[in-house]
Amino acid sequence: MGFEELAVNTSLNPGGVSFAFAITTSNNPTSLSAALPGYAGFTTAVEACDPFTTVSVCGTTLTGMAARSAGTGDMLTFSSIGTTPLSGPVTIYASNAYGIFTNAPHWTDPGVTITDDGTSFGFRGVGPSGASTVPEPATVGLLGLGFLGTALARRRRRG
């Protein structure tokens, strides 16, 4: 079982740190999932096959499902993750690379759990950290529209 996770700054998400992970297994899993904690209080979006590294694999259309826990939304769970066989001296099975976009300014190292056909594996991963002070681009846009509207209303009143 292998697990690779990255923290990146990318133009796809200029508002905060993004994370990416991929899993490799020695078996062809019928059930593969990942549980990543630490997302409470952060804006979070997920995507598969992001070109974050040159070694990214995007070989399966079985991208699976992502769910975020209720309440603070701390835990992200990826399930039904598909894999692609990579032949070599020993065949390994690789998931697609998943991207997690956040508005976090920093990163930390929470424990991540990968479950492969019922067997759990623990890893030290990477997750968001710090106060999410960076506003979302959409929020900035809405704020701009609000200011514009206020300015127009004032101008109309004066006129």
Partner: protein, 74 residues
Amino acid sequence: MSVSKPVILTVLAAPALLAVTGAGASPAPLAPGGSVSPIPTYTSTGTPTVNVLLTRERKASPKAASRWGSRSSR
């Protein structure tokens, strides 16, 4: 019918603002309690800039996993 200058400016400014807000092109936010299936794939044709801040690469066996489990349960 006369259209005032501020109205014209607003109409012209809106697409520019939307273009700015869409610059990130990241997928829709996943709210607490929410889910997405299937997970969407990256579809843009452009090559994004990527600055890798940290890489973690680990291999584990089930035995190592059980050690981790006991450590994290404290």
